[in-house]
């Protein structure tokens, strides 16, 4: 079916998936170009959110609740990851007094 025809009875699911892909690409770009370790972490959260949108859209497509549960588990893991990651950032800052990932290069070479 043609997307323009489908728009008469609602939003095509492809639009949601495309939005999710765009958010993921923006998150990847931010992960690459930002130099502040906290902002890099926020870009990872952005990517996780984009994937969650895909899960919810597929759940709607198949009319099954499993996709919601996967999104929920992703959310839980992201919360745990944020707690541990920010604790690591605190420790790094305490030892190196910098947040710039260019200067945290002890393991390089």
């Amino acid at each position: 079916m043609d997307p323009l025809e489908m728009m008469k009875n609602g939003v095509p699911e492809t639009f949601y998936l495309t939005l999710s892909a765009m958010l993921f690409a923006i998150g990847v770009a931010g992960f690459m170009i930002r130099r502040n370790i906290i902002t890099v972490f926020m870009c990872i959260e952005l990517m996780l959110n984009a994937v969650n949108l895909s899960f919810i859209t597929f759940a709607h497509q198949h009319k099954q609740v499993s996709g919601h549960l996967f999104a929920f588990f992703v959310m839980v893991v992201a919360a745990a990851e944020a707690a541990v990651g920010l604790a690591i950032i605190l420790t790094v800052f305490k030892n190196r007094s910098t947040l710039n990932i260019d200067e945290i290069n002890t393991l390089k070479n």
Binding site: M1, P3, M6, M7, N9, G10, V11, P12, E13, T14, F15, Y16, L17, T18, L19, A21, L23, A25, I26, G27, V28, G30, M32, I33, R34, N36, I38, T39, F41, M42, C43, E45, N52, L53, I56, T57, A59, H60, K63, V65, S66, H68, L69, A71, F72, F73, M75, V76, V77, A79, A80, E81, A82, A83, V84, L86, A87, I88, L90, N100
Partner: protein
């Protein structure tokens, strides 16, 4: 009406996401990220995922972002400094971003060309009752494993962030 709400909140989400990447100060990025998460919660509601929309607002836009803002405040993080970039990063960065974006969108359009459309209220299987039922029957084991994971995360965070006691 559906298309109007989708376009509005998709636009807000995209603008805020670009803002997360382009802002120089971490606190501005954090506030933009709250905007992304709130508009995604509205999109979840449009897709019929009431429970996940509410936990998105409470867990993500509430708890996780407060944690981020606390850490930014605690470390007094300022405007980030850029050292010199290699010419290759300057030259290839934006085209590479466009390539990733184009590839992802292409595969989405190609792989799921006509998968149906979304209308608000056409599927009501995402309420707290249905999610809770699936969580405690079919997905009981992952749910229990999650509690162990969170316990480990709490202990790990305390061990990492505590002051040296000796």
């Amino acid at each position: 009406m559906d298309l109007f709400f989708f376009s509005l909140f998709a636009f807000i989400a995209l603008i805020c996401a670009v803002n997360v990447v382009l802002q120089k100060h971490p606190i501005s990025s954090a506030l933009s990220l709250v905007g992304v998460m709130a508009s995604l919660a509205v999109l979840y509601l449009l897709l019929g995922a009431e429970f996940v929309a509410m936990s998105q607002v409470i867990v993500y836009a509430g708890a996780v972002m407060v944690l981020f803002v606390f850490v930014i405040m605690l470390l007094n993080a300022g405007i980030e400094v850029h050292h010199g970039r290699s010419w290759m990063a300057k030259l290839l960065g934006f085209p590479a971003f466009l390539a990733i974006l184009g590839l992802l969108c292409f595969f989405v359009q190609r792989g799921f060309p006509n998968v149906g459309s979304v209308r608000f209220g056409d599927w009501e299987g995402g309420g707290a009752q249905q999610v809770g039922y699936a969580l405690f029957t079919e997905y009981l084991l992952p749910f229990e494993v999650t509690s162990v994971l969170i316990l480990i995360a709490i202990i790990g965070a305390i061990v990492l962030a505590r002051k040296e006691l000796d």
